[in-house]
Structures are given as C-alpha cells and as structure tokens.
C-alpha cells in the first residue's frame, strides 16, 4: 500500500514537471472562478431587480393606504385598484447557487406583475435581454465543467499508456522489475487526484465568489451535489481516456478518438436530443396563440359593448355620459375572466408539450454524460426550469387570491378601507426541499458511476495483458 502511495507521489512530482499539466490546473481553477464572478454579476442584478420591485410596490401601497384613509375615491374602489392601479410583483428569489449553472433562468421571467386581470396578461411576459447573448449561451460554472473540463482531462491523459509505450518506458520499467499495471495505475491516480483537487478548489472558490451561504444546510447540500456531479463527470472522462488507451492505438489516434467523443457527447448528443424532443412533441404555435388571444379579446369586447348597452338601457338617465366605475369594472372583470377562460387551455397545451419534451430528454439524456451532468447541475442550482415551473404554479394560485381580494368587494359593491390594505395577499415563494432535487438527480449520478466502473474494469482487464512496445 505504502509503495503504491509512493508511486502516486512520484507521478504527481512528474506531472508537476510537465509543461502542460500545472497550467491546465491553474486554468481550470481560474475559469471556474471567473465563471462564478460572472454569475455573481447576474445574481446581483436579479437581487437588485427583486428589491426594486418590492420597494416600488411597498411605496405604492403605502401611498394608496394613506389616500384611502383620507377617503380618496380611486384608493378605495376595488375595481380601479385591482384592474388599473395595483400590481403586486410576485418575485422568484434568485437561487443562491443559481449563478453556478444559469440554465434556463436567464430566459424565464423571474417575476410576474400580478393584477386582478386574467393570468394571460402576465404569463406571456418576458424579461429584456440581449438576444445575441442568449443565443451564444452563458459562461457559467456549468459551462466550464461540462464543456471545458473534459478537454483538460483529454489533454492530460490521451497518451497515458500510449505515450509510455511510444517512448519505450514500459519496456524499461519491466526490465527494472516494476509492475506495469502499478505504473499505469499510479499515473492515472496522479492525474485523477490533481484534477479532483483543482475541481474542489475551483468550486469552493466559485462558491466563495458568489457568496453561497454554505452555513445553510440546503445550500451546502446543493453545493456538495454540484461538486459530486462535477467529480463523477471528471471520473467518467478519465475512465474513457484510460479505456481508449487500453485499445493500444497510438497517441494521435487516441487524441482524435477522444476529441471525437467530446464532440459526440458535448455537442451532438444534446443538440440531437433537443431536436428529437422538439420534433416528437412540437410546441403549439405561438402565432396561433396570438390570433386566438385576439379572437377571445374581440369576443370579450363585444360582450363588454353589450354590457354597456344594457347599462344605458337600465340607466336611461346616464345616457350620453360615462358608465359608473363600479359597473364599468364589473364588465372588465367579466371580459378578463372570459379571455382567460379561452386562453388558459391553450397555455396549458404549451405546458403539456413541454412536459412531454422533458420526458424525452429524461430518457435520451443517458446517451451522453454531458447531457446528464448538465441536467444534474442545472437541477441542483434551480436553473433547469423545474424551479420556474413551481414558481409559476404558486404565482397562479396567488393570482387567484389576489383577484378575489378585489373582485369580491367589486361584486358586492363595497369599498376598501385603509384597514383592508393590511390584508392584501402577499406572495412568498416556497422552494421545494433539496431532498426532492437530490432524489431527482440520484439516478443520473448512479448512471455516471456505473459507466465509469464498467469502463475501468474493461480497461484494467485489457491493460493486464499489455504488450510492452
């Protein structure tokens, strides 16, 4: 045992003297930290936005409450308040690990302005961003791990065995009475340990830079999950490199094969998986949604016009004037409800298709360790869309409470008082427990581990019968 450890120590020394290796470790750590710093800027922006939205809302409510106390009409009319004046921003607080794997979270809205109007008014809103940046993708920790880490591993180990053979070292070692498998195992272990060390330092550095509150058990667990996912991903690439080496081709061929594997797993498999999912379960047309929304609005407008005619028929004395606001907003409430009723089933179709696509991805992700790892990392950081889906679900429930708060008094014909402002519904997002996420990513981690072990067993079997030159 101690002799093996000594060998690994010797190999680590050798690795340190190679030109490439120490730099690639430094580069890896640096890239992870830069990516995290970059994510931190995003997190800061999201936090500032959330705080600004809440502050604006609080100021508006305070002003209205004060007006309501003085009996100002607009501040006590539930219709005007709910449908025209007051929007409560339901905010999805940025996840503390979010910047590590942005995933979909820069694409999906992080807040919904909730009003008494239909849910369709806020569900289709999106945040402003540079589309070119969105198209190019994020430079986050997940990118460094999923895309760049394998390249570092390939560069370190494509000639793990072949290089030694080509230089005749294997034959010499045997002549000197050393065990070849021990020698290769030591070289392999030295590389794995160095990369894992760099990864650990890099991820801890990233966590420090983004100020992940490690004291919270949830975040510490998620961070540990990110580290484990990254480590397993590193191991599977090492195992693959060793396995390719065990086929006894020359170093050039190994490098080409490993580069090809990188291309297949990192670029082609995810793209084809997305294409398969989107082709099998094509999303409904947004254009149709638009034209349907228009039809529904037009129908609601006609109904509202009929309401208006009925109103003036019932109140001939008001003819030529305006409807009283309460009657007007009751009509608006009916319009909004009818548009929402027409549109929500269409919006639900988008969700259904998205869920089906997700199932295809969940199945096909096992074709590529890169897809698996990316999915795992974004799940752990809340960037995979699930957290957002949960946010939307909670926001929709909240929207019902919020609407009822205004529509009930509107229908009863009562007014709001300053005291009622204390009872305005408040939105607070509840994250699902981390255990759910961990359970969700466990099969992916298991699959990575299993394939790694299979590759290692197969490689070591072959390497035992290694020809020396």
């Amino acid at each position: 045992m101690t002799s093996k450890l000594t060998k690994i120590g010797q190999e680590l020394q050798l690795l340190r003297r190679e030109r490439l290796a120490p730099w690639s470790f430094v580069l890896l750590v640096l890239l992870l930290v830069v990516a995290a710093a970059n994510g931190r800027a995003l997190l800061a922006k999201q936090n500032a936005m959330a705080a600004a939205l809440r502050a604006d809302y609080a100021t508006l409510v305070a002003a209205l409450r004060e007006q309501a106390g003085r009996g100002v009409e607009t501040a006590t009319a539930p219709g005007a308040l709910g449908f025209s004046v007051l929007a409560n921003p339901a905010v999805l607080p940025p996840a503390s690990l979010g910047p590590l794997a942005v995933g979909q979270s820069d694409l999906l809205p992080a807040h919904y302005p909730i009003t008494a109007r239909g849910a369709h008014t806020f569900l289709t809103q999106q945040e402003l961003d540079n589309p070119l940046r969105l198209a190019l993708g994020n430079f986050d920790v997940a990118f460094v791990i999923v895309w760049l880490l394998p390249l570092v591993i390939i560069a370190l180990s494509f000639n793990l065995v072949s290089g030694e053979r080509e230089r005749g070292v294997l034959a010499m070692s045997v002549a000197a009475g050393a065990s070849i498998t021990d020698l290769i195992a030591a070289k392999f272990a030295a590389r794995v340990l160095s990369v894992l060390a760099a990864l650990t330092i890099g991820i801890l550095g990233a966590a420090l830079v983004t100020r992940v509150p490690i004291a919270s058990a949830t975040d510490a667990l998620a961070l540990a999950g990110v580290w484990l996912g990254a480590a397993l991903y590193a191991l599977i690439w090492f195992a693959l490199a060793l396995w390719v080496n065990s086929k006894l081709r020359n170093s050039d061929q190994n490098a080409t094969i490993l580069a090809g594997a990188w291309l297949a797993f990192v670029i082609i498999a995810p793209a084809l998986t997305n294409l398969a999912a989107v082709t099998a379960f094509a999303p409904p047309s947004r254009v149709t949604l638009t034209t349907e929304l228009r039809e529904a609005s037009e129908a609601a407008d006609r109904a509202a016009a009929a309401d208006r005619d009925q109103y003036f028929f019932d109140h001939p004395d008001m003819q030529g004037g305006e409807m009283d606001t309460s009657a007007y907003y009751q009509s608006v409430a009916r319009s909004e409800a009818s548009i929402e009723q027409a549109i929500m089933p269409l919006l639900a179709q988008f969700d259904t298709q998205a869920e089906r696509q997700q199932r295809v991805v969940s199945g096909l992700q096992y074709l590529s360790p890169s897809t698996l790892t990316y999915q795992m990392l974004t799940a752990l950081t809340g960037g995979d869309g699930m957290r957002h889906r949960e946010f939307r679900r909670q926001a929709l429930l909240f929207h019902q409470d919020w609407r009822a708060f205004f529509v009930r008094p509107l229908e009863r014909g009562t007014r709001l008082s300053a005291a009622d402002y204390a009872n305005l519904p408040e939105f607070a997002f509840r994250d699902s427990p981390i255990s759910h996420t961990l359970l969700r990513v466990a099969p992916s981690a298991g699959a990575l581990l299993l394939v790694t072990l299979l590759l290692l067993v197969s490689a070591s079997r072959r390497l035992r019968r290694l020809p020396l030159i």
């Binding site: 830069v34 922006k45 540079n130 390249l151 050039d252 490098a255 580069a259 793209a271 084809l272 947004r286």
Partner: protein
C-alpha cells in the same frame, strides 16, 4: 512541383478512412440540420403569412366602431420567416415574432421560439451554420494537423526537400491538396443547401447565399493555413493536435461566450420594470419640458385662434382626435427614448463581442453570417422599426378620422369597413443585402486581418522550416 504535392495530399486525404468516416458523419449531421431547418422554415413561413392575412381580415371585418376603439383593438405584425434562416437561425430563436400594434403603446415582440425548447437548446441549436462554424473547422484541423509534423517525424520531409521542392511550394501544394479534398467532401451538403434555398426562395436570396459561401470559404482558408503553420512549427504531431484543439475550443466556444457575458456585466440591459417605469415617467413628464396637459391646452388655444371661435365645443373639428394625437406624440417619444437606452446597451454588448472577435475569428464569422442570412439583431430591429412606423401611421390616420369626421363629445361616432380598408395592410420588406453588408464591415475586417496574419505566419514558417525533429 506544386501540382505533384497537391495531388499526393488530395489523394492521401481522400484515402484516409478516418477522414471519410468523419466526412460521412458530418454529411449526416448536415442533412439532419438542413432537413430540420428547412422543415421549420416552411412551417413558420406558412404560419406567419397565414396569420398576417388573418389579422388583416380581422381588421377590415371588425364591424362598425369608434376609430379609437379600433385603435385599441389594433393589428399584429408578424415577422416573416426568411429562407436563409434555415441555414443560420442567428438570434431569431431568441426574438419575439409578433408585435401587437395598438393605441398609445409600443409593445415588445412576443412569442420567442426558444421559450418552447428544452433546456438542452442552450447547448446550441443544430443548424447548418453551426455545422460549418464549429464542426467543419474541427474536421479541417484533424485533416491538417499532421501535414508537416508527421513528415518530419518519419524523416520524409528531409527527402522531399532534397528533391528540390522549396518549403513554400510544399506548403502551397499541401494547402491546396487538403483544401481541395475538404471542398470535395463538403460539396454535397453545400449543393443540397443551395438547392433547398432555390426551392424555398427562388433566386432572390442567391447573392446572399453566394456571399455566405465566400465568407465561409475565407474562414476555411484562414483555419487551414493556421493549422498547417502549427503543424510546421510544433515540436510533434501530438503537440500540434493539442494546440489546434485548444485553439478550436477557445475560439469557437470560450471567447464568444465570455465576451457576451462580459458585455452583460459592463453594459447591462435595463430590466423590464425599469423600462416600463421610464416610459411612464416620460409620458407623465411630457415633451420638451412641457407637461401633457399644458401641451394640450396650448394646442387648443392655437386651434381656437385659427378657427376664430371662443369655446372648444364650437370647433368644426373633434378636439378629442387632436388630444389622442398629442398623447401619441408624447408616448412615442417616451418609448423611443427607452428603446434607445435598451438598444444602446445591446449595441455596447455587441461592440464588446466584435472587439473580442479579434481573438476569435469564429465570432466574426458568426456575426457576418447572421447579417447575410437576415437573422441578426439588426434585422430584427429593422422589422420592429417597420412595425412601429406602421403603427404610428395607423394611429395618426385613425386620430385624423376622429378629428375630421366626428363632433366634440360625440362618443357615438362609428366608422366602418371603408375606413379600415384605407389603412392598408402591414407588409414587411426585409432589408437589402447592401445594408447587411454595410453592417458587416468590422467583422469582415477581422476575418481579413486573420487572413493577413496567417499568410504572414506562412511566409515566416516556410522561410525557416524545421526539417528534423528535435
């Protein structure tokens, strides 16, 4: 001499099993990308044209209404899908396709296709442009990395030079041979793409397609020269391969992403909430320091003077129409200002990316490619501007009708199909190729600089070609 080297390299590449396997894989991917891109294009093109026609029909058949109700009803502008988007989807997946043109508001384009894709779409869509920007260069590298280093390692380089061929001739011969082989291998997919384009859009887009081809060829030449230079200078084939792979990964993926994210940090776009607040403040603040109410009052006084009447009700026109017009002037200016802020931030981000493209010819290539394919940010902006111009004309026309044809306080005034027909339909005319080219100056310059730099490197390398391996 060059011809001999050329023929040898050409045949050697075409006889290499690995190259052929790679080429077959690329061809398959290219066909998948082409087929899915073409299918998506034809579905979207049909759908949007139909939707635009439907909206026009809804508009003319909306029945009798007050023109201001019609203004609130509004119309939609759909961005037509352009044929070359199947080659390079550019940013269109991340841009809305429909804009609601309604009274008082300049809406954002909605319905981003990316919102309906799986999270894996963020790895990059499989499009033909992606194949040619990212995958083909890798294939070129694999074809060329050993061209000199292997000859040196096996000792044949010395023999070759002993036959009297100069290093320069050898370089040119190898370059032409390998490049010709690559062109032959890629020809099927290029021809298929051109055929698909001809079927989709006739010959209108052919000049753009040929220019695209020329720019991609330029990129290919740069990359091949670079790969050969590295092969000639590296200490071993292995080192050449590692250097080239690192170069490829860095320029293709790392630099563009890093530059784009750096742009976000240095020039962040305003949030939607800040944008809307800016618009609201702009509208409340009025134009040129004059609050809206004051502006309306001033216009009323001017009109009373012109028509020589004392009271607003005595005006022969409906002043309400004028008020709508003034409100629109104010809100238009407010929206213009906020959109200018948003676009300025995005422009700064693009500037940073353009600057970074000096380190990444792929970033420069991507920018030119999107421009020529009509799928760039600028093209989307042109569409949005056209839609907004149409909206403003439409609103002005409706306001004028209220002003001229109805009386003050007459809320019962109704216009009909006659008016709706005079407003015309929204028909978007994409920008000319000339405009696309004019915008591509900087990234094209970067590509030319890369070409000059690699040619210089070739000259320096061939002057002192290392013959023996160390």
């Amino acid at each position: 001499m060059i011809a001999t080297v050329l023929r040898k390299e050409f045949l050697a590449v075409l006889r290499d099993g690995r190259v052929l396997t790679g080429a077959a894989a690329l061809l398959a991917l290219g066909i998948i990308a082409l087929a899915s891109g073409a299918a998506r294009y034809s579905a979207l093109a049909g759908e949007r044209a139909a939707a635009q026609a439907l909206v026009a029909e809804q508009w003319t058949q909306q029945g009798e209404k007050n023109p201001h109700s019609a203004a609130h009803y509004g119309v939609y502008a759909f961005r037509p899908a352009l044929p070359l988007s199947f080659f390079d989807p550019g940013v269109v997946s991340f841009e809305g396709v429909a804009i609601w043109l309604e009274a008082h508001k300049r809406n954002f384009a909605t319905g981003r296709p990316a919102d309906d894709m799986t999270p894996l779409a963020r790895f990059g869509e499989l499009s033909l442009s992606f194949v040619f920007q990212a995958l083909v260069p890798l294939a070129l590298i694999l074809m060329a990395y050993a061209a000199f280093s292997r000859e040196r390692e096996t000792g044949t380089l010395r023999l070759l030079l002993a036959t009297g061929v100069t290093p320069g001739q050898l370089f040119i011969g190898k370059f032409l041979g390998i490049f010709a082989a690559a062109v032959v291998l890629l020809a099927p997919i290029v021809l298929l793409a051109l055929l698909a384009l001809a079927l989709a859009g006739g010959t209108v887009w052919l000049p753009a397609a040929l220019l695209l081809l020329a720019v991609y060829l330029l990129y290919g030449v740069v990359l091949m020269l670079f790969a050969l230079v590295v092969s000639a200078r590296a200490s071993s084939s292995q080192m050449a391969l590692l250097i080239l792979l690192a170069f490829w990964a860095t320029t293709t993926f790392v630099v563009p992403r890093l530059a784009a994210d750096l742009g976000r940090v240095l020039a962040p776009t305003p949030t939607r909430a800040a944008f809307m607040q800016g618009v609201e403040e702009g509208i409340n603040g009025g134009l040129g320091g004059l609050p809206p109410a004051a502006r309306i009052a001033a216009r009323r006084d001017a009109l009373l003077k012109i028509y020589k009447v004392e009271r607003q009700e005595d005006l022969p026109i409906n002043f309400q129409g004028v008020v709508f017009g003034i409100q629109d002037e104010i809100s238009n200016a407010a929206y213009d200002q906020e959109f200018a802020t948003l676009n300025a931030a995005i422009d700064s981000q693009v500037d940073i990316l353009e600057a970074a493209s000096i380190l990444s010819p792929r970033a420069a290539l991507a920018l030119v490619s999107q421009e020529l394919a009509g799928t760039s940010l600028a093209h989307q902006r042109h569409f949005e501007r056209a839609a907004e111009d149409f909206r403003r004309e439409l609103m002005a026309l409706l306001n004028r009708d209220i002003t001229v044809n109805s009386k003050a306080g007459d809320t019962g005034y109704r216009a009909g199909a006659d008016l709706w027909r005079t407003t015309g339909e929204f028909r978007y005319q994409p920008e000319s190729l000339h405009a696309s080219l004019a915008r591509s100056g900087a990234p094209l310059m970067v590509l030319v600089l890369w070409l000059l730099a690699t040619v210089l490197a070739v000259a320096m390398t061939t002057r002192r070609l290392q013959v023996l391996s160390q």
